[in-house]
């Protein structure tokens, strides 16, 4: 027994109990409560990376880059609404609450979305004046908690989104820990300052699709049938959920895959519940096609969308638009290597931070702390997000032109091949180099 370090060549890690699992068991044993965190699923999942766009060659001809037009506009809410949403790009900003995000972040997002001609979305906590002022097109969420729900805000928005579920936690309610419940947030939510806010997972006045149909009628009556009504579901039983949302009268369905982000959720929920975005898109499109409602009820897909290729693949599978949450925050500066000492104070590093739930966001995005918030200048943040959205749009157009498409919505499954058997099965496109689609 020399006390010298062992020869590491002979240390054999357990596949069942690798170091992170051991650390989590130790933490659970110390604290007696599940781990709550922000961000989205970190585990490996089949993603759009497992699909490739085929591009054009002899059998298809491409469009000239920078010279021939490739349109990006999309209209959401053509089924019943008198005023559908006209978006310049098929990339929208997902619902994130004022509370989870600070006022500067909401303002920056609104400014960037407006500059790009697209929409942004409120969240659990209602509509803040900063957000409405900054956002030309604002989607107003009606959530189970009904925090801050105000009929005047309903009438002042551009579309309504009834939130049934969220990809990060399908079946779970919202959560905002006490450290983020400041006086202003508490006032907007009719809650005491500093308490852990546990949102309901079901709506208080309806249960099931038949009730939802009547609820949507009420929302339409209140807004005189002017506005599109979306229904947002967390990807789980996607085919059934999309069909029922259509039956309930939705103008658009938002399907949020399990990679979708959150500001505070149990880690076990984030990593182990739901369906990845990749198969969810295909299942949603199939449900719409079976009902003869594809392109009549628009499909918006979210959950792990990162760049123009992800958008192109989602559209090729049949989505009408995508929605960004986490990626938009990263563009604002989330996980940027600034204020590194504050990352360390949280026990993390830039690139690994998922500490939105603490309210101590080092870059001033997911915080209500007045000092930290000053680290995000709304105009600068808006500029970065606008640059990012511009880049994504250019990437999308580049790929669509290469596939010979004069409009990005002309992308189709025939433009895709899969590089894994799993992705081929999930997306129902051929495995690259074959004509084989698993299950057919």
């Amino acid at each position: 027994m020399s006390g010298a370090p062992p020869d590491r060549r002979w240390l054999r890690a357990s596949a069942s109990f690798p170091a992170p699992v051991i650390a989590e068991i130790h933490r659970a044993a110390d604290e007696g409560v599940y781990d709550i965190r922000g961000f989205g699923a970190k585990r490996h999942l089949p993603t759009f990376d497992d699909l490739l766009l085929l591009g054009a060659s002899m059998s298809r001809y491409p469009l000239e880059g920078y010279r021939e037009r490739c349109e990006t506009s999309v209209t959401i809410g053509t089924r019943f609404a008198r005023r559908p949403l006209e978006l310049a790009i098929p990339i929208t900003i997902a619902g994130m609450s004022f509370g989870a995000l600070g006022a500067n972040a909401k303002r920056a997002i609104g400014m960037a979305a407006s500059a790009m001609g697209t929409s942004t979305t409120t969240g659990d906590g209602g509509m803040s004046p900063e957000e409405r002022e900054a956002s030309k097109l604002l989607v107003y969420q009606v959530l189970p908690s009904r925090y801050g729900l105000d009929p005047d805000h309903l009438r002042a928005c551009d579309a309504i989104e009834v939130v049934v579920g969220q990809g990060a936690k399908p079946g779970g309610g919202g959560m905002l820990l006490g450290q983020k419940i400041t006086e202003r947030i508490a006032g907007m939510r009719d809650l005491p300052v500093g308490i852990d806010q546990r949102s309901a997972c079901r709506h208080p006045d309806w249960t099931g699709p038949d009730d939802l149909e009547i609820k949507i009628q009420e929302l339409r009556e209140i807004t005189d049938w002017e506005l599109p009504v979306y229904v947002k579901v967390g990807a789980a039983r996607v085919g059934f959920d999309v069909a029922l949302a259509v039956k309930a009268g939705a103008d658009a369905v938002v399907v949020d895959g399990m990679q979708g982000g959150t500001a505070a959720t149990q880690d076990i929920f984030i990593e182990h519940a739901g369906v990845p975005t990749l198969p969810a898109v295909r299942q949603a499109v199939e449900a719409l096609q079976e009902l003869g409602m594809h392109r009549k009820v628009q499909l918006i897909v979210s959950g792990g969308i990162r760049h123009g290729a992800d958008v192109a693949k989602a559209l090729a599978l049949g989505a009408d638009a995508v929605s960004l949450g986490t990626a938009s925050l990263i563009a604002l500066g989330c996980n940027r290597p600034d204020y590194v000492e504050d990352y360390h104070a949280l026990g993390t590093e830039p690139g690994f931070c998922h500490h939105c739930h603490t309210g101590r966001c080092p870059v001033g995005i997911t915080t209500q702390d007045a000092d930290l918030e000053t680290r995000l200048h709304p105009e600068q943040g808006a500029r970065r997000l606008r640059n990012y959205l511009t880049t994504m749009t250019l990437e999308l157009q580049t790929l669509a032109r290469a596939c010979g498409k004069s409009h990005v919505l002309n992308l189709e499954p025939e433009d895709l091949a899969a590089v894994t058997v799993e992705a081929a099965a999930m997306a129902q496109v051929p495995l690259a180099g074959t004509n084989w689609i698993p299950g057919r």
Binding site: E31, P151, D152, L154, D190, G194, D205, D211, I214
Partner: protein, 233 residues
């Protein structure tokens, strides 16, 4: 000679919900004092929703889901029974149900007064956020679930799990309570509380002795997670 405007008669047997609600929304701004009699509602859903005028509406008959939903300013009387979600998310004004109300009456209401002269079913006052609700009869199970603010006065009995996960709403019940939900406890009834109940009963036009009520509210044990109280979740 009365200065009140002549009441408008709207017969839903010969008209539709859309034209009714559109006409009522047009009162916003200069419709204060308007009086409407709405006849033959026939259990239709979403009648008189999204009101934004100080109008006086009387609905003669039974209504379906969400009648008077998100009401602001209007005073609405339902001469019949009401379906689920009557006066849901009300902001101000008043809604009176002369008969019984189905589940989720006053759900997430943020202000105003909801009076139910009969009984209310399950989840009465669920997620209430500042509304005052007076029920002359009894309420069903899970009433005042996650109730955040406002008052619920029940002159009869309360079903199981009253006030489960309650925040700062205050519940007054005269009759037996089947059971209290998580974190809901009985609290002392002081003179100030009796005065408050008396005021709410008077506003509702319901006769009952304020001294015969018991008060329930949050123990505030679940406001911040405590591992030693995990069995209460």
């Amino acid at each position: 000679m009365s200065n009140l405007p002549e009441p408008v008669d709207f017969d839903l047997a010969g008209g539709d919900r859309r034209s009714l609600n559109r006409s009522l929304h047009a009162l916003a701004g200069d419709g204060a004092g308007a009086r409407w009699n709405i006849r033959n509602p026939g259990g239709r859903h979403a009648l008189c929703v999204g009101m934004a005028a100080e109008a006086e509406l009387a609905i003669h008959g039974h209504v379906g889901y969400y009648c008077a939903g998100m009401n602001r300013s209007a005073n609405i009387v339902i001469h019949g029974n009401a379906g689920p979600g009557v006066a849901e998310n009300m902001m101000s004004g008043s809604v009176r149900v002369k008969g019984n109300a189905s589940q989720s009456a006053g759900a997430s209401g943020r202000g105003g007064l909801l009076v139910i002269e009969g009984n209310a079913s399950a989840r009465c006052g669920i997620s209430m956020k500042g509304i005052d609700i007076v029920v002359a009869g009894s309420v069903g199970h899970m009433s005042a679930f996650m109730a955040q603010a406002g008052h619920l006065v029940v002159c009869g009995e309360a079903g199981a799990d009253l006030g489960d996960s309650i925040y700062e709403a205050v519940l007054y019940v005269r009759g037996p309570v089947a059971s209290l939900g998580a974190d809901c406890v009985e609290k002392e009834m002081t003179d100030a509380h009796r005065e408050r109940v008396g005021g709410l009963l008077a506003a509702a036009g319901v006769e009952a002795d304020p001294g015969s009520f018991r008060r329930y509210g949050s123990a505030r044990r679940l406001y911040n997670f405590n591992v030693d109280r995990a069995d209460e979740y």
